[in-house]
Amino acid sequence: MPPTRGATVADRDPQAHLRRISEALDGDGALPHPLDPEGAAFLDAATRLRSRMRVEAAATPPDVTDAVLERVRAEPKARPSPRPLSLVAAAVFVVAAVGAALAVRPGGPIAPEPVLADVGERVLQAQQDVLALDAAVTLVERGAHPEVPVRTYAGTLRYQAPERLWLHLVQDRTSLATGFPANDLDLVVDDGRAWSSGLRGCPVDAQPGCLGDSDARVVSGLAPFAADWVAPLDLVIPVDAFLPGAELAASATGGGVEITTTVARLQRTIDGLRAAGALRAVHATDAVRVELDRDTFTIRRLTVTAGDTAARVAWAASNGYSEPAGTAVLDLTLTEQSLPGSPFPTAPIAVERDAGFADRADPGGPAPTWLPTGFSAHRGGVQHGSGATTTVRSWSDGRAWIRVDVTTERAGDALVGGLGPIVRALEVGDGTGYTDPTGSVVSLHDDGIDAAVSGSVPLAVLVRVAASLPILGRELPEGWPQGEVLESLPEGALRPAGALIARYDGVDLLVALPGPGQTSAVLRQRPGTTLGPAAKADVSQVEVRGVAGRYEPRTQVVTWVEGGWIRELRSEGLDLAALLVIAEDLRP
């Protein structure tokens, strides 16, 4: 339909307009034209939602249109919004995300993918192709201190798959401020040992006195792909940022893929960069523009730009930063180039912490009979600790990895693998396995033996690896807290509209709001009338279900008090707007 003057489709029948957009996204018809701003917002939100649902798609796609329209019609008039369709978009997300969460099965995508919407999957795929990377690195850091407006660094990054990385940065001495020591840094992960050296970060208003001299931290005995160290592997390919469910706005550039997101999404990458030295902090809501190589999906450039929200300004003030909004506070570039064949440096002499893992050529214990094509054995060994002794095997294909932990000495009545209090059951071969709400690990329990399968691959792959272990997963024994699912909640506690997945962990009532990948959320509730002290700088005030609450952007937690209950809603992958809409949909 050609553009016409006067009334648009949206003007004449807004609901039909939205329905047509939804149908177009389902591959049924073309997008209505012209798209008014509200329609464009709806399209954007629906596209985001569908990209989030991509990996664990519903076999029977939920028809969200009617639910959305019903939600819009039922929207309380007492809470008018200046942009009503933002609520529509949010409602699309919640209704569909929850619906999908309750109906997910292995299957194909539910809708045609918008351009580059599959970048998350492509990043996951690309990690299997990157075996090594040598790059020249430059970093420009702005606003670290009133007396240090700009610091520039140059250095190198050397990566050898799957878990050897050396980041070396030297501060340009022309950017050295009087009284400030050079902020040179090294960060090394070398299989089972990792170390960093550089200045120790400290508050801006105590600098430069608190910076002291450069020192080193060394950790040895690291298990394969252990989370004990802020491993900067995401500086190579930011896999963690693009786990299933990630919200992405990607576009093609000359030879690359440009993604615009926030620090919260790339937290692990930026934490990796900041794991050594005294680089400035950035706020979870700061904008990040990351350019990935189109073929290898390695990072070519990453720019963090200061935001200007009230919470960001308050956070900056708490940290002594005063840069104007829009300042590129961190600007990292990696330019692939051959580096001389110098070996990885040896760890400096420093107090060394032992993480308790000992490498062994043959750690023993059961091993999977199936692994994805191309995966070969990486490190294995035995993890010792005050808890159970665990045999660990790992496999890798480039940056991608899979790890299997097996123990016959489980401590306590809980699944191994650190699943947390809320678990969901999965079919694993002919038995039963369990995973956490984000689907990052599969845990099996059998008489006298327990196993956990984790990795940087999708849940379906982990399940298949687990199914090939000579362990038949059983249902959780009676009495294990993770298996004590509540069938109802006490009066006053909130729950989602769909199926109830809840348990009591001895302190809180926990209600799971499962979703694909990082879009899952957990609601914690306990009786109470006041929130505790707010220790974090970036806590901001938000309105939740009509009452004043708090939001912490870094941890993506909303807390509030309502009707004699203290409630906390947390998600790794959902932003504030989505959390607020989910909260709105909770019911007694």
Binding site: V313, A317, L486
Partner: protein
């Protein structure tokens, strides 16, 4: 040497932030206690009929910095666009040596050399009252020199009411009234600014700022023009439990209610001596996973044990270095001349002190931090002056047991 210290009333459950859930099927919501005198302003405008003008309502912003505000800040803030009023609040610890009820009968009688530390704020009544609800504002506005206001929690701790007398090492004040905890910023004693110098309550701790402009602009002006290079905390009422300085930790009145009150004697440096009967009653030595034997307040052992057990069960015991555990109960102040450390109550632990000195950023594993937080502990790593080895215990759930014979 006879020492008779007063009992701590223990029925103030409502002020406690974290309450244990005894049963998921029978939630017991504690009695409400208002932490804030005024409902937080979600919006700065009121709704009105279409024909009526929109009436702006000032929003409230707390401003505080570690160690005290720079001199003259209040006047500079008052001159900023959109600021309608500013209240400066001084705060320091005073030392109570005894108290009398309204009839002149002794209530707290302490032996020579011993005192009970009191968290004391000095306010200019008229300006402070502008930030309060009507009832509290009337009481505060009437506060005169030589008088004191107690918060409800403090009055219960002190077993004092209007007309009572509190004897301090620096002077004597008469209780002019009792206000709710929120209005009184959970302080134990509020005195008139005219008495601040005599009572040695001199440090300007925080500002309350009422403003009609947008928050970002005000914060940016404060941070970049008036406090550049200084770490400053901004809070609205809904963003914090107590609208006061040091809002990342429970104030002394809550600590006393949760863990009991004791008399102290100062020792050289930051060390103190705590009244032995309190120590004997509440400080215990018990074994917990990973750390081994710890000496803490009896009410925190269970949550510490649970957190350590969870780490152990998740095969994360190595995240805590027992050799870098720096203790729980420790009778001391934060520093010489500074308020009591929460270690003095045996309600804080320092983990992995190697590599996590006070004043530096954290090198703690986030899984350790998360586990401690999940068990109700708060963490010093995000404080204005970070203390990344430091964790503070959740306040006790059953305070009735703490009350009467410390």
């Amino acid at each position: 040497m006879a020492l008779i210290t007063a009992a701590v009333a223990g029925s103030l459950a409502g002020v406690v932030a974290t309450m244990a859930l005894t049963s998921p099927t029978s939630p017991t919501a504690p009695a409400a206690a208002s932490r804030h005198a005024r409902e937080p302003a979600i919006t700065t405008t009121t709704t009105a009929p279409p024909s009526a003008p929109v009436v702006a309502r000032p929003a409230i912003l707390l401003v505080w910095t570690s160690g005290g505000l720079p001199p003259g800040l209040a006047a500079q803030v008052a001159a900023l666009d959109g600021v309608t009023s500013v209240a400066t609040v001084r705060g320091d610890e005073t030392a109570m040596t005894g108290s009398l009820d309204a009839a002149g009968r002794p209530v707290d009688v302490l032996a020579d050399g011993w005192h009970v530390p009191l968290d004391t704020l000095a306010i200019e009544p008229a300006s402070f009252a502008e930030f309060l609800d009507e009832d509290a504002a009337e009481l505060v506005a009437g506060l005169g020199p030589g008088e004191a206001l107690l918060t409800e929690t403090s009055a219960a701790l002190r077993r004092l009411a209007t007309g009572a007398t509190i004897r301090l090492t620096t002077g004597e004040v008469t209780v002019a009234g009792v206000i709710d905890d929120g209005s009184g910023a959970a302080a134990e004693v509020l005195v008139h600014a005219d008495d601040a110098a005599v009572l040695d309550v001199n440090t300007e701790r925080y500002l309350l700022v009422a403003h009609t402009g947008d928050r970002e602009t005000l914060q940016r002006a404060l941070a970049t023009e008036l406090l550049e290079g200084k770490s400053v905390r901004f809070r609205t009422p809904a963003e914090t439990a107590w609208l006061r300085h040091g809002d990342a930790v429970e104030p002394p009145a809550v600590m006393k209610t949760a863990f009991g009150e004791f008399a102290v004697r100062d020792r050289p440096g930051r060390d103190i001596e705590i009244w032995p009967a309190w120590v004997e009653r509440w400080i215990v030595t018990e074994a917990v996973p990973i750390l081994g034997e710890v000496r803490c307040h009896s009410s925190v052992i269970e949550s510490l044990r649970a957190a350590m057990a969870e780490l152990e069960q998740a095969d994360l015991a190595h995240l805590v270095d027992p050799g870098a555990y720096a203790g729980c109960y420790s009778p001391r102040r934060i520093g010489p001349g500074l308020p009591l450390s929460h270690h003095a109550w045996g309600a804080a632990v320092d983990l992995n002190v190697d590599g996590n000195p006070r004043g530096s950023f954290s090198t703690q594993d986030e899984r350790l931090v998360e586990t401690m937080l999940r068990h109700g502990w708060t963490w010093g790593g995000t404080w204005l002056v970070p203390d990344p080895a430091h964790y503070e215990a959740p306040v006790a759930a059953d305070m009735d047991a703490l009350g009467t014979d410390r």
